[in-house]
């Protein structure tokens, strides 16, 4: 059946109808009086008609799958576009918010430099404080 997915729609359509019509035709022709091999033609006609009906069913199923596949592919393409837009939006938001954090940090660092004399005036940091803070900040 999977081979059918490589065959163009029109070819399948023609093949199914060709089998069905030739089967029905052969069956009808077999009723012509004095025709040689009437019985064989009737049997072949019946077999072709049954096969044609079977193929018609398969053809309808195949077409419904193809239509579902096409529909699904369209949904996936639309989702891909939405997903790309969401990615761009998030990337833009990260860049914007990171810039705000950096800008704020620059302002704070400038403020610290500006007020350094005032900050350092009344306090001398014990080396133990540095050790404690570094221990807390590192993975060790």
């Amino acid at each position: 059946m999977w081979i059918l997915s490589f065959v163009p729609d029109a070819w399948l359509h023609y093949a199914v109808y060709a089998v069905l019509i030739s089967g029905i035709s052969a069956y009808i022709v077999s009723f012509i009086p004095l025709l040689p091999y009437r019985n064989i033609i009737r049997v072949v006609g019946t077999l072709l008609t049954v096969a044609g009906i079977y193929f018609y069913g398969s053809y309808s199923t195949e077409m419904s799958w193809r239509s579902r596949t096409e529909e699904l592919q369209k949904e996936i393409d639309a989702a891909k576009v939405k997903s790309d837009d969401a990615n761009k939006q998030i990337a833009g938001l990260i860049a914007q918010k990171t810039q705000i954090i950096h800008d704020k940090q620059i302002v704070i660092q400038k403020q610290i430099v500006q007020d350094a004399a005032k900050i350092d005036k009344q306090c001398v940091v014990d080396p133990e404080v540095i050790t404690i803070l570094n221990n807390a900040a590192s993975d060790k």
Binding site: W65, A79, A86, N87, I94, K104
Partner: protein, 86 residues
């Protein structure tokens, strides 16, 4: 052996190939980098130096927090888009 081949052929007849594949999207590059390590303080007695490093580390945390929040948002958005295809 012949029976197995016949059964296999019959089963092949029942299979339906749907040549459509949906894959989960890739995250933006901005989200893929790891958070930076916190800066350590150089030996000093000045409180301003300590405050400078501590506030810098706050900004590193803020960046990391932002990245984490965006990961969550990114996943929720992409998951909802992914699941909308039925």
């Amino acid at each position: 052996m012949k029976k197995i081949l016949v059964i296999l052929l019959m089963l092949t007849g029942c299979s339906t190939v749907v040549p459509v594949k949906q894959s989960f999207p890739d995250a933006p590059e901005e989200l893929k980098s790891a958070c930076q390590d916190l800066k350590l303080i150089e030996p000093t007695t000045k409180l301003s130096d300590v405050v400078s490093v501590v506030t810098y580390n706050y900004s590193l945390y803020k960046e990391c927090q932002l990245k984490n929040q965006e990961w969550i948002d990114w996943y929720n958005k992409q998951n909802s888009i992914f699941k909308s295809v039925k």
